[in-house]
Amino acid sequence: MAERHERVDVLVIGAGASGAALTWRLSQAGIHVMCLEQGGWIDPQTYPSVRDEWELHRQGDFNPDPNMRGLSVDYPVNNTESPIAPLMYNAVGGSTIHWSAHFPRFRPSDFRLRTLDGVADDWPMTYAELEPFFDLNDRMMGVAGVTGDPAYPPKSPRQTPPIPLGTLGDTMVRGFEKLGWHWWPSDSAILTRPYDGRHACNNCGPCDIGCVQRAKASTDITYWPKALAQGAVLKTQARVREITVRKDGLADGVLYYDADGRIQEQKAQVVVVACNGIGTPRLLLNSRSSLFPDGLANGSGLVGRNLMFHPYAMVTGVFDESLEGYKGPNGCSIISQEFYETDLSRGFVRGYSFQVVRGTGPVSTALGGIVRQRVPWGAMHRQVFDMRFDKTITIAVIGEDLPEPHNQVVLDPHLTDSDGIPAPKVIYTLSDNSRKMMEHGMARAAEALQAAGAYEIQANPLLRPAGWHLMGTARMGTHLRNSVVDAHGRCHDVKNLFIIDGSILVTGGAVNPTSTIQALALYIAEYMQQNARHLLA
């Protein structure tokens, strides 16, 4: 028998990028919000970058792939039918714990694919409507960057100056300038000066193993302390098994396992799902009942469908000189959007961004760097290692992948997490359009690296451990025929159930989605707050 707790106004599931933002906004308005998170708090002082063996943690507790980490707070993902492996982190802060903090916004055209290019669907809102929420979120997270980028409508002032370029960045800029291509210091959620009680980045390098300096924004150090001070409640090691429903078909609350594996029941007036593009459809599909035999809020049949990753092609240039590429945030922050908008003469619709990535440390270099081409063992080892170490620049080609119903998240019939909850399986194929886009991007990236002085090019046409961005599996739209939720994240067929994470994105853009996901969460929070009297009645 489950232990019961007092009903709350709003119950949020997941304490990552979107759950933190919405909880902060609603608790600010005096709404009683509780959040359940399956992971725990991590003390930034314990991140591996303070230890001598820091690089080895990427093979263990800081591997971005939950299957490789295998921590008890993680759940496994069957990725055998996908060429891209999903990545995520489970903790307070979610995947912002291990992200590189690239923070570009989706661009105006990303909200209007059907109108502009005749593919996929328009979003139920525009860039202009989201803009105030982008700005608010930037202030909360703290963004390094500079205004004046011709690739975007004018933006509000950034919180701190851009990330330093270093020798590696200077070298790459020369390549883009030689070709006359667009480049810009991309917005990064990394402070270059003290801001809001947090320190400036000291250019230590490996953002992906957690930021000791608290310069990189993760929601455990941005939104959460403020939300808790406003009275929000956050329960950790609380793993939700299913969302329960009342006889009238509204959401009633959840059943979750506590740290000791005991089942607990929490009721709420409104339930908000913020478990990412894989965790969210998994939870909905696991929440079956006689009223919802195909999973909760799945009247459209679209829960789990239209899964979008960003396909990543990685192109590495090898240079003669040392580039000091292990100094500075490893995501670097140079972005080029020369090939972002549709030009059908290229043979595909939509486009891609380039992101310049800094060099890797000695262990990662030996194991193959970002393109995963291992340095050979044996007589040639020393020579090849010395040619590569600290002498490479990598361009990540990040392409817009269009929504396709057959790319999906389903429940695995056998695999479960440590509490016995069925685990997700991803089924994904790369479309022809995306493949052509990646080929075009790889050729252009090689050109840029050669213009910067690279004498050798290595390429990986589709990086497997690249499923950072999990999108589209509970999409927004106008009606149950075309979507799971409406323009305010509200499920069409369960009116007190909201979804606010990457699942609701209609299309994926060709930039990292977190800035846009969080802006949407704040936009939805605004709607919930304005309609609180009705929603919480």
Binding site: V50, P108, V146, D149, P150, N203, H381
Partner: protein, 158 residues
């Protein structure tokens, strides 16, 4: 490199340790100032990774058995008694026949070697973790953007 502790579980027999030293010196041979991987405590690192893992123990036991079999079959000698070139030939055969073992062997050899202070110093790096000191880089030079700023808007306004 991870600190050795008194409680570290052991796995390799002394005979296996001897073979592994030879193997490691062929995977990363000594070259100039750089020592071979068998001359640094890389094997101790590998043992710390392998000992607690049943699947890795199985891979290494079977992999080393196969290495011995191939040495005897091709050269009629133990691996440790072979010269460098035939040792490489044997290792290439094992790489083909036992890819799982070989992948683990390479991964953990490289990891142990390239996290060792001796190697980091030879690479010209400061022998310390990235934090708390970090590194110093010159601030972003905003004048670099003057040229890009002059471009027409690159985005479409629907």
């Amino acid at each position: 490199m991870v600190e050795t502790s008194a409680t570290t579980p052991t796995f390799f027999t002394s005979a296996q340790r001897q073979v592994m030293d030879h193997v490691l010196n062929r995977i990363i041979p000594a070259n100039g100032a750089f020592p071979g991987a068998g001359s640094l405590p890389v094997l101790d690192y590998i043992e710390r990774v392998v000992a607690p893992s049943a699947p890795l123990k199985r891979l290494f036991t079977q992999g080393l058995q196969h290495l011995a079999v191939v040495s005897q079959r091709q050269y009629g000698q133990a691996f440790s008694d072979l010269a460098a070139e035939p040792q490489d030939t044997v290792l290439r055969a094992v790489e083909t026949d036992r890819p799982g073992f070989f992948h683990a062997l390479i991964t953990h050899t490289y990891s142990g070697y390239y996290s060792h202070p001796t190697v980091l110093a030879l690479l010209g790096m400061e022998v310390r973790p990235p934090q708390p000191r970090g590194y110093t880089l010159a601030p972003f030079d905003l004048s670099l953007l003057d040229h890009v700023k002059q471009r027409q808007p690159l985005y479409r306004s629907p």
